[in-house]
């Protein structure tokens, strides 16, 4: 799908769908329209960027189910829900599932646009965090078994001498492993290495 950030509008009412699309485009957003959750889901891939503006009540998969399906597919795009009036139980559930916003269908345009902006910002931030995480995992994955073992000890704050004793290897070998680790992960300080290892979920 599109590489640039896009607002994906899902609504079973064709008039409303077209009108929301027009408004978002007039406001300068990239917008694509879908008449059902199923139709939209076939177009979603891991590198789909942007946010979803979805009707809450729809035949087939409703808005909440669409949100669940996105989360399961590994593309947890932020969702802005549109609804009729005061549907409290659904609101609570949607918020719990991480809805960015919940608007009445007749909410004024500046509210809708502000909600879409927040959703796009959130997607960008979450995407950046995910990318960083993936990159870290990739770097740590390049370590050999022995280097991982050494790293585990380093993260615990042990000195080279202790590590060498624990692993039954020469202290100079430990130093060589540490150099390799620093080169592969790309950080020189132990403190930073520890933070990154934790962030990458390495020794959990």
């Amino acid at each position: 799908m599109n590489k640039s950030a896009t607002v994906y509008v899902v609504d079973d009412d064709p008039s409303y769908l077209v009108a929301v699309g027009r408004l978002l485009r007039a406001a300068g957003f990239e917008a694509r329209m879908f008449a059902s959750s199923a139709e939209f889901l076939t177009q979603v891939s891991r590198d789909t960027r942007g946010c979803v503006v979805s009707d809450l009540q729809m035949p087939g998969l409703n808005g909440l189910e669409l949100q669940e399906a996105l989360a399961r597919s590994g593309t947890p795009l932020p969702v802005v829900f549109l609804t009729g009036r005061g549907d409290i139980p659904s609101t609570v559930r949607a918020m719990r599932q991480g809805a960015v916003d919940f608007l009445e269908k007749l909410a004024p345009d500046h509210q809708l646009i502000a909600a879409v902006r927040r959703a796009l910002e959130r997607d960008a931030a979450e995407r950046a965090a995910r990318a960083r995480h993936d990159e870290l995992r990739r770097r740590f994955a390049a370590l050999t078994m022995r280097e991982r073992e050494v790293l585990r000890h380093v993260v615990r704050g042990q000195m080279n001498k202790q590590i060498a004793a624990d692993l039954g290897i020469h202290e100079r070998t430990v130093k060589l492993h540490r150099t390799a680790i620093t080169r592969k992960v790309g950080v020189p300080s132990v403190a930073e290495l520890t933070t990154l290892a934790r962030e990458a979920g390495l020794f959990e």
């Binding site: 008039s15 009108a19 408004l23 007039a26 406001a27 009729g84 269908k105 345009d109």
Partner: protein, 281 residues
């Protein structure tokens, strides 16, 4: 034709304890079974048409069907406003928007027409109706509700009341609505003094008159007429359609429905119905 038979009997034994003869009665209960089934059916229809279908249809029509076209109109108008801010607005797009606004306006109008048709439903089938059993059936429907809410329900019917000319299902809906309103009106009163009385009699004009009186705090005069306006409500969860729908139904029968505030306390909602021909005693 299928007939329903009920049998009761007892065996009589001889001196040696062996059964000799069986005495008892066998009754044909087809009629009472049929009447029972019919009232069950009515009860189901009522529960359905009165509380689910009509109100359900109305609120879904309002919440969903009207919100869609109104929402589309709003979004289109907002988009048009934005486009008009451009130095050279896209006229083709603006024309398309205006055409769509028109289309959705018509769609919203159609929803309102359908709502109106629903409220005025022409399919009122007038038949002779036994008022006493009509009221009893509705009371049976709300009895549990009344017990839970500690409301005493009384029914007083004048003897020799002729049958009314009406549509059982629609009239039940009116009664149901008035009785539930009455129960709502007394919900703030002290337990033990919550009372709703239904009276049926013949009035001086020869019409059948049914009154539902509650022991609540009564209706301020400025509200008494407004209460029949669609969407006027004093309840947090009400749609404000019960009374206008009821009045429409009663007027379709050739009767009247109005509210009275009582000198003592509480309010009375009273409606009239024509007497069925040939039943005048």
């Amino acid at each position: 034709m299928l007939r329903w038979i009920a049998a009761h009997g007892r065996a009589e034994s001889g001196a040696d304890g062996r059964p000799l003869v069986m005495r008892g009665i066998v009754r044909d209960i087809t009629e009472s079974k049929r009447a029972h089934d019919e009232s069950e059916k009515l009860r189901r229809e009522l529960a359905h048409s009165g509380r689910v279908t009509l109100m359900g249809q109305l609120s879904s029509a309002l919440d969903h069907e009207l919100n869609q076209p109104l929402g589309a109109i709003l979004r289109n108008a907002e988009a048009a406003e934005m486009l008009l801010r451009a130095p050279e607005p896209d006229l083709d797009e603006l024309r398309a928007i205006v055409a769509d606004i028109r289309k959705d306006d018509r769609r919203a109008g159609d929803v309102i027409d359908r709502l109106r048709a629903l409220l005025k439903r022409r399919s009122v089938e007038l038949q002779p109706v036994e008022v006493e059993s009509l009221v009893q059936d509705v009371i049976a429907l709300v009895r549990t509700d009344a017990a839970v809410r500690h409301v005493a329900l009384d029914f007083v019917v004048a003897s020799g009341l002729p049958r009314a000319l009406g549509d059982k299902v629609h009239l039940s809906q009116v009664l149901l609505n008035l009785i539930i309103n009455g129960m709502d009106a007394v919900s703030e009163s002290q337990e033990g003094s919550r009372r709703v009385v239904i009276e049926a009699r013949r009035n001086v004009d020869g019409m059948i008159e049914v009154a539902v009186t509650d022991s609540g705090s009564g209706i301020p005069p400025e509200i008494a007429e407004k209460a029949f306006n669609p969407f006027f409500t004093t309840k947090s969860s009400g749609m404000g359609l019960g009374l206008p729908v009821s009045r429409t139904i009663i007027e379709a029968h050739g009767g009247k429905l109005w509210a009275e505030s009582n000198a003592m306390q509480g309010a009375t909602f009273r409606f009239t119905l024509p007497v069925a021909e040939g039943t005048v005693r």
